[in-house]
């Protein structure tokens, strides 16, 4: 196969009609290019959207109370109720497979009305009462000081951890944050740490404008007794929160004396299901890219096959001469197949190279204009390129197969007669 004369001949044949070869090659080139661009665009979108989930425990549900719609055990419908701190342990005991059950409280802050004050600065931020485990459920990390711990919870310390966005708003650059006091709705809290978001897009900015207070301190300072605003519940690895969700909801319904059939009393949101939906959306997009790209590629390959048929037709007489001189029919078949494979691989790999350049260009463009919403780092894996190469070899073989068969089907005596 790696025979100098054979390759010389392949090049001779393909270069005799430059323009035709180029046009044919373009079909395959275009197919691969489109395949790669589609795949990388899909990947870019996927990366962009998945970044929103990065660092978040996706196997998580949120649950909150609404208004009952059914009377139960002597209690009327239309009743407002709250989860209690006791429900947390009840859920932990009753439902097997949960990793974290975080009770949460929050301050309702009206937009534009400042609720946090520091020296002469003030701002409006979301303030949460939380247990230390919340750091494993949200996509945050402590970049300065420490996060809340169980001593804070037990001793009801008036300490807070603030987002980096809050620090930027209220403090001067380089000013020491730790040990300073913020006044939140009239109560002073000492800052013990600051945190940042793992995701660095627009949503991250918002999430860095929040303040975390120990749950017990929050309850005491803002008169929540043992009420729980909502819960964030994460399942252990290997358990699906979607599967555990009904028993969690039923547990709290029972303890809060809500009718088991009351669908609207407890509100919940299944992050895992949402995540899966996004996941399946991307897998669908990937398939569309592959199918569309392959279709375009196939039309390119058909072009190659077509041209090879014409080449064989044009060379019928030559093939007759070669066979009269004693060339093995197999050798002729191999020649045609190699020409076809060579053409597809060269044009296909050119497509891959252009696709890579295109991705490179888009990436440097994205770098220069800064992060774009829902689009990040488009790319194709080396695996995809290898698969593309394999597809090219196979399609080159297929494209050359019928023409090669035609080439040796003609008997040498008939081939010699053609003018």
């Amino acid at each position: 196969m790696f025979n100098r004369d054979r390759w010389k001949e392949i090049l001779e044949v393909l270069t005799t009609n430059w323009f035709r070869t180029l046009l044919t090659a373009f079909g395959v080139f275009w197919g691969i290019l489109i395949l790669i661009i589609l795949l990388s665009a899909g990947k870019g979108l996927e990366n962009g959207i998945k970044q929103d989930f990065s660092g978040v425990a996706t196997n998580t549900m949120f649950m909150w109370t609404q208004t009952t719609t059914m009377a139960y055990e002597g209690l009327p419908e239309g009743r407002n109720f709250n989860f209690k701190l006791g429900d947390v342990n009840l859920i932990k005991d009753n439902v097997h497979g949960l990793r974290i059950v975080s009770p949460r409280n929050g301050l309702q802050n009206q937009q534009g009305v400042d609720n946090v004050f520091y020296k002469t600065e003030s701002g409006s931020y979301r303030v949460f009462g939380d247990y230390p485990e919340i750091i494993f459920q949200n996509s945050m990390f402590v970049n300065h000081g420490r996060f809340l711990n169980y001593h804070d919870i037990e001793e009801r310390r008036k300490v807070i951890v603030i987002g980096d966005g809050v620090r930027k708003d209220l403090y001067d650059d380089g000013e020491e944050v730790l040990g300073t006091y913020l006044k939140i709705q009239g109560v002073n809290f000492m800052v013990v740490g600051t945190y940042k978001e793992k995701a660095s897009n627009g949503n991250g900015e918002n999430a860095e404008r929040q303040i975390y207070i120990p749950f017990t301190t929050f309850s005491q300072a803002f008169n929540r007794a043992d009420n729980v605003g909502w819960m964030a519940i994460t399942a252990k690895d290997g358990f699906s929160i979607s599967a555990l969700l009904p028993s969690v909801v039923n547990t709290v319904k029972e303890s809060r004396k809500v009718h088991p059939d009351d669908e609207r009393a407890v509100g919940y949101f299944d992050l895992y299901e949402q995540f899966n939906r996004v996941e399946s959306l991307f897998s669908a997009m990937r398939w569309i890219a592959i199918i569309v790209g392959t279709m375009v590629l196939i039309s390119g390959v058909i072009g190659v096959s077509n041209i090879m048929l014409i080449v064989v037709k044009e060379r019928t007489k030559e093939i007759g001469i070669r066979r009269a001189l004693g060339e093995d029919p197999w050798s002729i078949k191999k020649q045609i197949l190699l020409e076809s494979i060579f053409l597809t691989i060269v044009s296909g790999m050119t497509g891959v190279i252009f696709g890579a350049l295109f991705i490179y260009g888009i990436n440097s463009l994205l770098d220069s204009v800064g992060p774009v919403d829902m689009f990040l780092n488009p790319s194709v894996s080396v695996g995809v390129v290898l698969v593309a190469l394999l597809i090219l070899i196979v399609s080159g073989l297929l494209a050359g197969f019928i023409p090669a068969q035609n080439a040796i089907k003609v008997r040498p005596i008939d081939a010699l007669r053609t003018e």
Binding site: L325, G326, P329
Partner: protein, 233 residues
């Protein structure tokens, strides 16, 4: 060298069958120069094609240098053609994108002779036909006579048992024809067996034996006094 017994060949033309060769008996020794003559439709080309293993016989037997030629598959036929036969065509049939040297080297390539040896041999045969200086030229840069000489060099390159020439002078003027015949005679003088199909009387007389074909049978087979072509050159 060649031994043909009771050779029959017919072609199917739709529902009719055309009986072209009707029992040919022919033999030829090594070193002979035989002219096969006949008007068009006499079956001389069909005979040559069968001799050249380009076509299969229906009935009878064909032995070439003691090897029975029968029921060959394409691969085997290609091997035998390469080993036993050299072809010279009326229309030269050179491969037009290959140089004279490459054309001559082609049969050697099919024998898997190494590149260097191939080129040396091809050059030697080009020298024999007097075209050494034209080795790198493409067929389109050669005259008709030169093309035919390249084709003869190519036919000789594989050192075949028999050279088969199908109207070798058919596309040439008479002066060039004689030059080509002179070359063929010289090759024959060197001991090669050559069969020439022609319908030209003067070309046939330059051979040593003339076989007349008519309506698919041999009507005459005579030895003749060879006319040397060199006297016309």
């Amino acid at each position: 060298m060649i031994e043909i017994k009771n050779l029959h060949k017919s072609y199917k033309m739709g529902s009719n069958s055309l009986h072209v060769l009707k029992g040919i008996n022919f033999s030829c020794e090594a070193g002979e120069l035989v002219a096969i003559m006949g008007s068009s439709g006499s079956g001389k080309s069909t005979l040559l094609n069968i001799l050249g293993m380009l076509d299969e016989l229906d009935e009878g037997s064909y032995d070439l240098d003691g090897v029975p030629i029968k029921n060959l598959n394409e691969t085997k036929a290609a091997q035998y053609r390469n080993k036993f036969l050299g072809f010279i065509f009326q229309s030269f049939n050179l491969i037009n994108y290959k140089s004279a040297l490459e054309n001559v080297a082609l049969p050697l390539y099919y024998q898997r002779v190494g590149r260097k040896e191939r080129q040396e041999k091809a050059l030697k045969y080009l020298e024999q036909v007097g075209l050494k200086e034209w080795a790198t030229h493409l067929p389109s840069e050669l005259s008709g006579g030169q093309k035919q000489r390249v084709a003869i060099a190519r036919a000789m390159a594989a050192e075949p048992k028999v050279l088969l020439a199908d109207e070798p002078t058919g596309a040439l003027d008479s002066k060039t024809s004689y030059e080509v015949m002179d070359l063929i005679q010289k090759i024959n003088d060197a001991g090669n067996t050559i069969l020439v199909v022609t319908h030209e009387e003067d070309i046939a007389e330059m051979c040593k034996r003339i076989v007349h074909l008519k309506d698919g049978v041999i009507v005459e087979d005579k030895k003749v006094e060879q006319v040397r072509a060199s006297q016309y050159v």
